[in-house]
Symmetry: C2
Subunit: 353 residues, 2 copies
DNA sequence: TTTCAAAATTTACGCGCGTAAAAATTAAAT
DNA sequence: ATTTAATTTTTACGCGCGTAAATTTTGAAA
């Protein structure tokens, strides 16, 4: 039974079982082989060539468990996002994986499925893995800050997307202040001032910042802020945007003809609701409504109409997060100051507002 | 510097360094502790209680690298999907992670980012991890079948979503024949027979099956099949659907007023194109076009209009894949017969057709 | 209380690799 | 050819755990 499987493997070259064997077939001593695998440049060029020639012939790969057993920390870097099924985080994770690989580490991707317990679970799994560091986008409101703080004291951790004050070596995110200001400004300049459509109890701390920024921006422009705070839990933002958008439109309770949604996924649901109510959304004549979002979600360019929004600078956030982490790892020490970096958003003018 | 980090950790209980120490503080011998961690039910109930009480007090966790070093295979199960930023695969992966955890294994999630080299890379990474098995959704056309076949001979592998003939212990996917038949039938019954909108060189083998099924279904109903094969590479299906949909609509080259898209993501792009051309999509009076998709993609209920499509049975596919893999793993032997399981789709009637 | 199988303990070895120390070799500079 | 620093080799130990074998203890049934 087990034999059966084994027989299938090709037997062209005698299988190398461990570093000892590989050392003997390659004619190099084991400690030197070991040095090579830890850093190929640490051995003489001629030696490196001999090893690499042997490597082509015998395809030996060191046992990763044996390698890491005695290391205080490994070359693994954890990447944890709150919700992998959200294309925003999927994209973010993709970027980070690339950066981590490019820096010579191995990414370990974990999604928390919107569940705080799983988030802690993921942290625990990672801890066993003795990672060199972690890039963490916390759930936000649902998160267990104590457990995360605890973890971040054992493992170099850089937070991104959602800030938990004082936790981690650094935080990298979007400048919600600036980006909301940008779009509120734009909307006020081109039509009625927007009301702000959001969840009453958002799971994401950015939502709070955006609310504040909206209120401040409106007041600065001499307008009355109008918050539309709807019920809804979890991460199914489109569903909430649709359901509550439908309700609001039905009740005709919108204070103005312009709605700024706290994020694109809510806006996608809202737009769908407006469409079904037969309301024409956009900024031309004959449009009953303007809708804007926030994030430049991958799907926002395919909504009907296409969604006017503010972009988050995916790439800068991913890059800065990764680089901050590498710095902490390579300096070996905790940063003296917890650095918070915020990237500005850009206005993305499309059809909906 | 390193000390600094260490000082932060709480010192309430003296830190347990290894199983030996935990054995002594818990008053149980090390071999018994070892037995417990491999299977808590394998020790006497009273012993288990004593261990668990000690566990609460000292929070020791075995070194996973030491544990796995000598195992022929671990409790890890790899889950590889071609593209994590596609919510379909993200959802699928999420389900599978849950099932894997429930079965007492540890999922290791890997995305191939639409890149065949990375797919092989992922396989290689997994091999080092000595996983008990792998759930693999291959890229399809881009995949390197030889490398995958090789891998699947060393590691129990169950394929899902995209079939590579003869590779792996089993394949689980959708019954494209049935589902395409279903929707072609529906479309013909309720209006003009559909043309089939697809990529000329689809990356996914399902696309070929769907094309064939479309042709067969049309012929069975006495209609002329009309294939609209558009250019486009990669995994940005919405962009392709939009770009080529726009072109097709501009050229007025559609043979009928009904379009069946090979998948929902193409349809999402197509719908967006139709909207921007000012064409009303749907089945009522005054609609110029009907559009249908395939997959019941998470976003298809928020398109404008909402997308009529055929659902893939996410959950059944995930469950059956996982269970097939567990069976192979636990039986310890390769299945005598490579089983192919196809789940029927269900018609999801919404606004677009 | 005796009996006895089940469970735990004691003892000991091995896994694949990192790595330290001392000796030997290499290759570049004098 | 000689000196010398840089590498490699030899030798040896340790890491944390799995696990086998022999022995002792446990606890339930007789």
């Amino acid at each position: 039974m087990l034999e059966e499987r084994r027989l299938k493997t090709r037997m062209s070259e005698p299988k190398i079982r461990n570093m000892e064997e590989f050392a003997s077939v390659s004619g190099i001593s084991r400690p030197t082989i070991s040095k090579y695998f830890n850093d190929p440049t640490s051995v003489r060029a001629t030696t490196r060539e001999r090893i690499e020639r042997a490597l082509e012939q015998f395809d030996y790969q060191p046992n990763m468990y044996a390698i890491n057993q005695n290391r205080r920390l490994t070359k693994n870097i954890g990447v944890i996002v709150p919700y992998l099924a959200d294309p925003f985080f999927a994209e973010m994770a993709r970027h980070m994986e690339d950066l981590v690989i490019a820096a010579g580490y191995r990414p370990v991707l974990l999604g928390s499925h919107g569940d705080a317990d799983l988030e802690v679970e993921n942290l625990n799994s990672l801890r066993l893995m003795k990672p060199a560091g972690v890039l963490l986008a916390p759930l936000g409101r649902g998160s267990d800050p104590e457990r995360i703080a605890e973890f971040s004291q054992d493992v170099p951790t850089v937070l991104f997307d959602a800030n938990l004050e004082t936790i981690g070596e650094a935080f990298v995110g979007s400048n919600n202040q600036q980006s909301i200001n940008l779009i509120v400004d734009y909307l006020c300049r081109t039509g009625e001032p927007p009301s702000f459509f959001e969840m009453r109890l958002p799971s994401n701390p950015n939502a709070f910042k955006r609310r504040q920024a909206y209120v401040a921006a409106m007041e600065a422009l001499g307008h009355e802020p109008q918050l539309i705070q709807v019920d809804g839990d979890g991460w199914e933002f489109e569903a909430i945007g649709f359901r509550e958008g439908s309700r609001v439109l039905e009740e005709r309770s919108l204070p103005t003809d312009t709605v700024l949604c706290s994020n694109d996924r809510l806006a996608i649901g809202f737009l769908s609701a407006a469409y079904q109510k037969g309301m024409r959304v956009g900024l031309g004549d004959g449009c009953a409504l303007r809708v804007a979002g926030h994030d430049d979600h991958p799907f926002s360019r395919y909504t009907c109409p296409t969604l006017t929004t503010v972009s988050q600078d995916y790439e800068s956030i991913a890059t800065k997060s990764a680089e901050s982490l590498f710095e902490v790892i390579e300096s070996g020490s905790a940063e003296k100051m917890r650095e918070e970096t915020l990237f500005d958003g850009k206005l993305v003018m499309r059809g909906s507002a």
